[in-house]
Symmetry: C2
DNA sequence: TGTGACGTTGACAACGTTTGCACACGTCCT
DNA sequence: AGGACGTGTGCAAACGTTGTCAACGTCACA
């Protein structure tokens, strides 16, 4: 349509390259109505007769009118945008969240302003730009949310906030995630059902609440059946996970199975297993990762419904934006175990210290009893 | 800190949960100055005496004042935000771009508003929300940029635009990417240097300009030395890449090496090779992918410096925002071949139809002559 | 000591939009 | 036939900020 042509002949204003903006007054004048009527016709909904409304809309599209969001936000006191605070955009998990949040906001006519939370930035520094813009609400997905400054809790008093994935120590806002302890238990039980007893848990570090809870689920399950839980932390840098995993595995030469409690260290762990020539160790991992079925053997994972999490986060947020009252809500999405091979192998060698009975190397095809691949939401 | 306390006693305004906003007038009143002086003291820079300036800053921080960006943008006619249009946030490559663009914008005091370009949304629909907000500039990273509507070209006439990764058919704006044809050539040469002659190129589809150029580089190199180029397109959906790769590979049973021209189909291809029991086929892939060294054998790739691309995109954009004139600039970042094993194997079986001499299965350790692992920027 | 220059400050008018209010119409009821 | 009422429209006042302009006092210089 190249609607700018209409204005192109106007004297080029202040700075070069800057075109005149088409304002509501221009539209109103072209349609022969007042700005109030034009505004109501375009955005106000009812209260304008059909012929006039149509004339206004025609003029608007002919002139190439865009509403000036700054003016609207100023007038309304609230911006039609939401904030999205993410810990690290390079992590695929968060990318999936971003995609769904953007989609949900777009469908509701809201823009999305991104910011980085954590990763060395203070909460204040992350959230300030959002507050200055008067965003209608904020979706936060960061392991460090709400701690230790408590700044986010303050924000949540004035503005709808939804926490995704990791939930702060005290829940001051709506939140959605998974039952991380259940996930840890689930991963562990899967390995137990194939006869493993010497199982090692590997996580990134104790700063991420989700991983800590998964480790807790693992440890509880182990203790519950009289086994000794063992955990090692590989750190947050994926590129160093390999080295850390080598060290951790060498410290536990007798383990026959490993729980990878977080996606970012899983590939490093797999490389380490290959390098140490311990391909016989069974592996189950939290979160599906790209190329999981390209590994040898394909990787067994417990997957969370990330898309559902993102979608629901937006829904929760907009319910609050639309005025829903009530105490903070916490929801959880379902988990799904995807057996691909790496987790469906028995212990290759019996534990060296204990004299337990030898076990078959491979269970019969199919899932062993008591392990249901599909889980319902909590 | 909890600066909201100052205002908490004020009668809770209109809607529950909505606090009074601290305005510049409040700060000015508290400091005993006019709003003009307060504005200058806080944001204007020079022109205010030191004692007054300090008093104003004190009052502002005591009251917990945040500038109202909507009002500022309205007044200034331009928002201190940039737009970031991305094709798909779930693709790791784009995630890395997002992270760097956000970082660069943040350092310069600008917010980032995201939007999805392509993936079924029209360019207008993608960009409109950005224009309405009067963003200072836009970074676009989408294979469909500028085509076929040409809407983006219109936008670029009024606003600084930088295209990242994929460059539109006609370059109407600054852009940064890589030399895709050179990348295709590079991948091909690497396989040729190990003795392969029956080399297949696999890409996603002909809609992405980058992949088309890589295929062009591949094909040119093949023709150049008297070989027949063969290409197959696997489609854009990574989850269907496996099936498509199986079909493609079965259609070319004699190939001894494969060039994977795009990251999104690489893991599907690897799975297909494993399933078809053609693990002897050499593979080199475009773009490093997570867990590349966890595969068996570890994956040889040509990597692009994505972080540098993102950083440079922001620099280019802000140079324009700050008023730099001149014709569109196109820049390219460097490539780096990372040999990990999958691409350093010779052809296992000589071509069935041709009677070429048998070749050694493995070349001597180290890179073969003529293949320099490090490349300088184009 | 008068005058111009300068540095500092305040009053005021925008920026473009939304919205409460008033008003001019018709129409319908009593 | 006269008043009440609803519908459609315009007027004008905000929203919070920045930049222009003039006014003010102070100082240096003639």
């Amino acid at each position: 349509m190249s609607h700018e042509l209409f204005r192109r002949s106007a004297a080029d204003g202040d700075r070069p390259g800057e075109r005149q903006r088409v304002t509501l007054a221009d539209v109103a004048e072209a349609a022969g109505v007042s700005t109030s009527t034009a505004s109501r016709a375009l955005h106000g909904g009812a209260g304008v007769s059909e012929p006039l409304s149509e004339r206004v809309r025609g003029a608007a599209s002919a002139l190439g009118y865009h509403v000036n969001v700054s003016a609207r936000s100023l007038r309304r006191g609230r911006d039609q945008a939401i904030g999205l605070a993410v810990e690290d955009f390079t992590i695929p998990f968060f990318g999936r969240i971003v995609a769904r949040v953007e989609r949900g906001a777009h469908l509701r006519g809201h823009a999305v302003i991104i910011t980085v939370a954590g990763s060395g930035r203070s909460e204040a520094e992350s959230v300030e730009p959002l507050l200055s813009r008067g965003v209608a609400g904020i979706v936060v997905t960061s392991g460090t949310a709400g701690a230790p400054e408590g700044y986010l809790a303050d924000v949540a008093e004035r503005l709808p906030v939804v926490q995704v994935d990791a939930v702060g120590p005290s829940s001051f806002s709506d939140s959605i995630g998974i039952d991380n302890a259940a996930a840890g238990r689930r991963l562990t039980e899967h390995l137990l059902s194939y006869g493993h007893r010497e199982i090692l848990f590997l996580g990134s570090g104790t700063a991420a609440s989700t991983v800590v809870l998964r480790e807790k689920g693992y440890a509880e399950k182990m203790v519950e059946i009289g086994l000794v839980p063992r955990s090692e932390w590989l750190g947050y840098d994926p590129s160093q996970a390999f080295d850390a995993a080598v060290v951790a595995l060498e410290a536990h030469p007798d383990v026959t199975a490993v729980v990878s409690g977080v996606a970012r260290t899983t590939t490093g762990l797999l490389s380490a297993l290959g390098t140490l020539d311990r391909r016989d160790v069974a592996v189950v991992a939290m979160d599906d990762i790209a190329g999981a079925d390209g590994f040898d053997p394909p990787l067994t994972v417990v997957e969370q419904d990330v898309e559902a999490m993102g979608d629901r986060a937006v829904e929760l947020l907009f319910e609050r934006i639309d005025g829903a009252a009530g105490p903070p809500r916490h929801e959880e999405v379902g988990l799904r175990l995807i057996p691909r091979g790496s987790g469906e192998r028995g212990p290759a060698h019996a534990p060296t210290t204990e004299g337990g009975p030898a076990r078959t190397r491979h269970p019969p095809a199919g899932s062993p009893p008591g392990d249901d691949p599909a889980t319902t939401p909590a």
